[in-house]
């Protein structure tokens, strides 16, 4: 099982690729390679990713990603904020799955505090996480198909995504940067008709996924562009830190929701789709199947939705309701203290991982016993998966690089942070 690092699996740097190409040009047998700069504004790099490629005709000889264009120092910013003020920052890391980021962070802090979360809050969290997964996969499918040349799918996907964003807006007041989860629970109770709207969405969604499948799966151009492209062996996937759908497409059966359950996932029945082809096609099929599974999890969450409070019983950590704050002395004091000086978190370190749409999203939170975190580190799935890009593209055609980037579903916001 233990893979040994082959020298060609070590990612080269940008300068290495350029220097290598110059060196090759002095070698008469390889004087025909050229260096191609792709990005940072290339439309199919999904953000601001710059790739430096050395190509021999249409064949990729080597490839180096250059990242950091979106680096805003979020990890540094967290060290100047109270614990509860970090939640909105976590949205902005991966803007396609804000709820997943919120969840990983609040679970980490709740673990440090030793808080028990009411079941209703947990169930709503899972419901929203799975809706977020569908939403993220819809953006992935639309843009991935667009990169490959199938423009229509994008419009279909964004039609359903719009409905999801409306659901998020109804529950959190925000379409994308939701910041809906709080340390200890949720920020507010969902509106009265919200669960009925979710039910309506879940009723139509499976037929919509079938519609996307109908547009793509039988299309000969789509099949030719995807099948056999960007192969990644299971050993390489593990050695290079790949997680999420690309890992499962390579045949490694690992999903945190099932294998290291958090937030009550052990109570739900769902399948973890596995493929063994390890190519772009397998990743496409896995994400489509995951959408079906997410709909099932959402349905189970709706069916078992318990009544009760949405926040834990911890007045020193959770802001009181407005009504209480205006009428009760105790609540007013708690409110004032939480807002002005935060709450102290017992010293310690935790690493909380969740299964984001892109793979293992982990928050490493270190507390020194004060109201501000000593360190918050985000382990991001795209950051690791990007390292596998070279292995997947080397020796293949330049045109396939676009398909491979699409298939690993990177979000540059979470890579650069």
């Amino acid at each position: 099982m233990a893979p040994v690092a082959a020298p060609d699996m070590i990612n080269p740097g940008v300068d290495d690729v350029v220097a290598d190409a110059r060196h090759h040009n002095q070698d008469p047998s390889r004087d025909h390679t050229m260096v191609l700069n792709m990005g940072p504004q290339h439309p199919s790099t999904h953000g601001v990713l710059r790739l430096v490629l050395e190509i021999d005709g249409e064949t990729v000889v080597s490839l180096a990603p250059d990242i950091g264009y979106l680096h805003t120092g979020i990890e540094k910013t967290t060290e100047a904020k109270f614990y509860q003020q970090v939640v909105p920052l976590t949205d902005r890391i991966d803007y396609l799955c804000p709820m997943t980021n919120n969840l990983a962070y609040v679970l980490a802090v709740e673990k440090l505090l030793g808080l028990e979360i009411p079941e209703r809050a947990e169930t709503i969290r899972i419901l929203l996480n799975e809706l977020t997964r569908i939403q993220s996969h819809l953006v992935w499918l639309g843009t991935h198909a667009m990169d490959i040349g199938a423009l229509t799918v994008f419009l279909y996907c964004f039609r359903e995504r719009e409905e999801l964003l409306r659901l998020f807006e109804a529950v959190a007041g925000q379409r994308m940067m939701t910041s809906y989860f709080r340390i200890g629970g949720l920020s507010m109770e969902p509106p009265i008709d919200w669960f009925a709207r979710v039910q309506k969405f879940l009723n139509i969604m499976p037929s919509k996924i079938a519609e996307y499948e109908g547009l793509l799966s039988g299309n000969p151009i789509w099949i030719n562009r995807l099948k056999g492209v960007g192969y990644l062996s299971p050993e390489d996937a593990i050695a290079l830190g790949v997680t999420g759908p690309p890992l499962r497409a390579s045949g490694v059966d690992w999903d945190l929701r099932r294998d290291m359950p958090y937030s009550g996932y052990e109570k739900y029945q769902f399948k973890v789709p596995i493929r063994t082809e390890g190519d772009v096609w397998a990743r496409y099929v896995i994400r489509l199947e995951e959408m079906y599974e997410s709909v099932k999890i959402c349905q189970q969450a709706l069916d078992r939705m318990p009544e009760g409070p949405i926040v834990a019983d911890a007045p020193k950590i959770i802001l009181p309701y407005r009504e209480q704050m205006k009428t009760q002395m105790e609540s007013l004091i708690h409110h004032f203290k939480i807002v002005t000086e935060g709450f102290a978190v017992p010293a310690g370190e935790v690493f909380q991982t969740v299964e984001s749409p892109r793979g293992v999203m982990g928050y490493y939170v270190v507390s020194d016993g004060t109201a501000k975190p000593l360190r918050v580190h985000m382990r991001n799935p795209s950051y690791a998966t990007l390292q596998a890009l070279e292995t997947m593209c080397k020796g293949k055609l330049l045109g396939d690089v676009v398909a491979v980037i699409g298939s690993i579903d990177i979000v540059l916001g979470e890579i650069d942070r």
Binding site: A5, I10, D16, I67, G68, E349, F351, G362, H377
Partner: protein, 146 residues
């Protein structure tokens, strides 16, 4: 905890260990990190999830390099930690054990200034190549002119 796979595998290398909030942390001496990584890999901890650092400024030893390693078979995670002095922090690279450590170690070098000996390409990854200083250090100025 004595029969935990990681504890058994690292019995000779561990300096100290703690089990806090259901998470196992094993501290190893910084010169033994490659041996420790190889040992846990042999014991079935096959997947490196994360490499990062913590700056405990102003206390000494100042830096803590943290490795999170998970076992797909055992469904368990172990955290390896190595403590480094503030003066010229250096540790061996584990890219020979897990190639995925490459980007993580570059990030730690970029933001904390911890050198990884044996890393194939230890250059800045987040900040521009001509940047001065390492922003995630606690003594890095957060306001004023640079």
């Amino acid at each position: 905890m004595a029969d935990n796979t990681a504890v058994v595998a690292l019995a000779d290398l561990a300096v100290k260990a703690k089990f806090d909030r259901d998470e196992l942390t094993i501290y190893v001496a910084s010169q033994n990190i490659v041996a420790a990584a190889t040992a846990v890999q042999k014991a079935g901890y096959n997947f490196l999830e994360d490499v990062t650092a913590v700056d405990w400024y102003p206390s000494e030893p100042r830096f803590q390099v943290t490795y999170h390693i998970v076992s797909h078979r055992l469904k368990q995670r172990v955290r390896l930690a190595a403590l480094l002095d503030g003066e010229d922090p250096v540790i061996d690279s584990i890219t020979s054990v897990w190639p995925s450590a490459n980007f993580y170690e570059r990030e730690v070098w970029d933001l904390f200034g911890i050198r990884f000996v044996g890393h194939p390409n230890l250059t800045r990854i987040m900040m521009p190549t001509d940047w001065k200083g390492h922003p995630l250090r606690k003594d890095y100025p957060v306001e004023g002119y640079r």
